[in-house]
């Protein structure tokens, strides 16, 4: 089985050759394994979006190679085009991409570009709509008549309908209210458990990543600062804070307790877990 995405020593410069040359990402090497749920975090301007634009060849690396399914995507137009469909990229505020007369037609835009037969397109549209929780009667509406959250979900469905091997989502819940955010996270989780596909989630919220991802890649100033399981990364809470990232409240409480000498692990990131440990601690009669 080949690795879905592999980056080898990739750098990307903006305005190359001029005085304003800026390295957006520097010497990035990483692999995304089959079936993984990877979270990418970093503060604004840390190179997250530049990084994911390399996954499907929207940006060409200034240096290094990008392999999708084991093939170098810069070798030919065909491989690049195939990579576009293997890696489904959903940008921030994806509702800006809606343009068709009906929601169904808009979701079908990707599959149509893949030149799939009509019945297969119809199946995929229905499936993707189900994943994102759009009711069938909504499919005949104009996408511009939907509410903000529904638009967002319709746009995500447009990427899911391509049935990519890897689904990459850039801040899919940005600008939504807590309920909308929860819905989006729920649908990502659902999608993954039903299709078993690989998912990459970009966010600057540690809490979201912690709740969803298996592995976390932390970006800082265009470089990979940390790369490991959620537990590993969260045990460096103070480092994360110096990188301008918000550690979940509960983690901060536990780090402080740990530093004060209490016998608790510092890398707790869910309230449920925290309560369990505190209760055990109290019953154990410490303090």
């Amino acid at each position: 089985m080949s690795v879905p995405i592999e980056l080898r020593d990739v750098s990307h410069f903006y305005s190359p050759g001029t005085a304003m040359q800026v390295a957006a990402i520097k010497n990035i090497s990483l692999t995304i394994e089959e079936g993984e749920f990877v979270g990418i975090i970093g503060h604004t301007g840390s190179g997250k979006s530049t990084l994911i634009s390399h996954f499907n060849g929207l940006l060409k690396p200034s240096k290094g190679t990008v392999l999708v399914d084991g093939e170098d995507i810069s070798q030919s137009k065909e491989v690049l085009r195939a990579a576009r469909f293997k890696v489904g990229l959903c940008f921030q505020y994806p509702e800006a991409q809606l343009f068709e007369e009906t929601v169904a037609k808009d979701i079908a835009f990707g599959p149509k570009n893949m030149k799939l037969p009509e019945d297969e397109i119809a199946r995929r549209v229905a499936e993707a709509a189900k994943y994102v929780g759009l009711r069938p009667e909504m499919l005949d509406k104009s996408p511009f008549d939907l509410s903000g959250g529904e638009k967002r979900r319709a746009a995500i469905a447009g990427v899911m309908a391509m049935e990519p091997k890897v689904l990459v989502l850039d801040e899919p819940a940005a600008g939504l209210d807590p309920r909308g955010k929860k819905e989006i996270h729920e649908l990502i989780r659902n999608y993954r458990s039903r299709t078993g596909s690989t998912v990459v989630l970009v966010s600057h919220s540690m809490e979201d990543i912690a709740n969803l991802a298996d592995r976390v890649i932390v970006m800082n100033h265009g470089e990979i600062a940390m790369n490991g399981t959620v537990d590993e990364v969260f045990s460096h809470a103070s480092d994360l804070q110096t990188m301008g990232l918000n550690v979940p409240e509960i983690t901060r409480v536990f780090t402080a307790l740990h530093d004060k000498g209490f016998d608790v692990p510092p890398n707790i990131y869910s309230v449920k877990e925290g309560v369990r440990i505190l209760r055990a601690l109290l019953e154990g009669g410490v303090g």
Binding site: L58, F91, Q97, G110, N113, V159, M162
Partner: protein, 272 residues
């Protein structure tokens, strides 16, 4: 990519030309462009060329930047020169081919003359945009056109619309970039196919662009209304335009050039 399109090629500096009143700059540039067409021989055109060189020196805009602005008209330049060389007849014949194609004195003169004329024209007009920000220009235009108010033309509103349009060009370019990437990620093919196919491929880009532009326009109008914007009536300015000594010196230089052109036109033979 799309971002590379430069617009309103302002070159920030603090030169004498930058500090001039935009109204005076606009009027004088216009007047001097008319002057280019008053020149009838190389001597008077020489005055214009000299004027342009002096203006460039005072603007402190690098020559490289000016060459960049000539580049787009290079084709026109060569085209008119070639046409003039072969199609204008008169005077001494330098060269004849097959008894048909010939190069004459007049042909060469006209070709060189028109070329200098076009270069001076382009350099002068780009100097204006290099030394004046688009906002300053529209402001100046508003002031200069304000007498039209007599005819119930809303000069202020027009100027405000122009300023806003200019302001939103970079924003829209960014927006196009974003939408293009989003559609490309869904497999939109913008690069291949015939004319009709390519035009069709633009639909997924322009519809979202339209939608967001309308939304932006509404939001902007709303924000302006919230800050009590009611149009030009009774509106005062933060930056008052004032004519200074620089502007009068510039005016004087222009008048001297004009006098020189008229005199030289009289004393030497007309060649164009």
């Amino acid at each position: 990519m799309v971002k590379d399109i430069t617009f309103g090629q302002y070159y920030p500096s603090k030169s004498a030309l930058h500090n001039m009143d935009a109204r005076m700059k606009l009027v004088l540039t216009f007047a001097m462009i008319v002057c280019i067409f008053l020149c009838h021989n190389f001597f008077s055109l020489g005055v214009m060329a000299l004027f342009t060189v002096i203006a460039v020196i005072f603007s402190r805009v690098p020559v490289k930047m000016l060459l960049k602005s000539i580049k787009p008209v290079l084709v026109i330049l060569i085209f008119t020169a070639v046409l003039n060389i072969f199609y204008t007849k008169g005077g001494e014949t330098y060269f004849t081919l097959f008894n048909k194609i010939s190069i004459t004195e007049k042909g060469v003169n006209t070709a060189v003359f028109t070329m200098i004329r076009i270069v001076v024209l382009v350099v002068l007009s780009s100097l204006l945009t290099y030394t004046t920000t688009p906002t300053m220009l529209t402001d100046a235009l508003e002031r200069l056109l304000s007498p039209l108010k007599v005819f119930h033309i809303k000069v202020h509103t027009l100027a405000m619309m122009m300023t806003l349009a200019l302001r939103f060009i970079p924003t829209l370019i960014e927006e196009i970039d974003r939408i293009m990437n989003a559609q490309k990620a869904r497999g939109a093919d913008l690069e291949t196919g015939g004319l009709i196919k390519r035009a069709k491929a633009l639909i997924p880009i322009f519809i979202p662009l339209m939608v967001s532009s309308f939304r932006r326009a509404y939001e902007l109008a709303f924000a302006m209304t919230c800050r009590c914007y009611t149009g030009g009536d009774g509106r005062t300015r933060m930056k008052q335009m004032k004519l200074g000594y620089r502007d009068f010196i510039a005016l004087l230089i222009c008048l001297i050039s004009l006098a020189g052109i008229i005199v030289l036109n009289r004393f030497f033979i007309k060649i164009i």
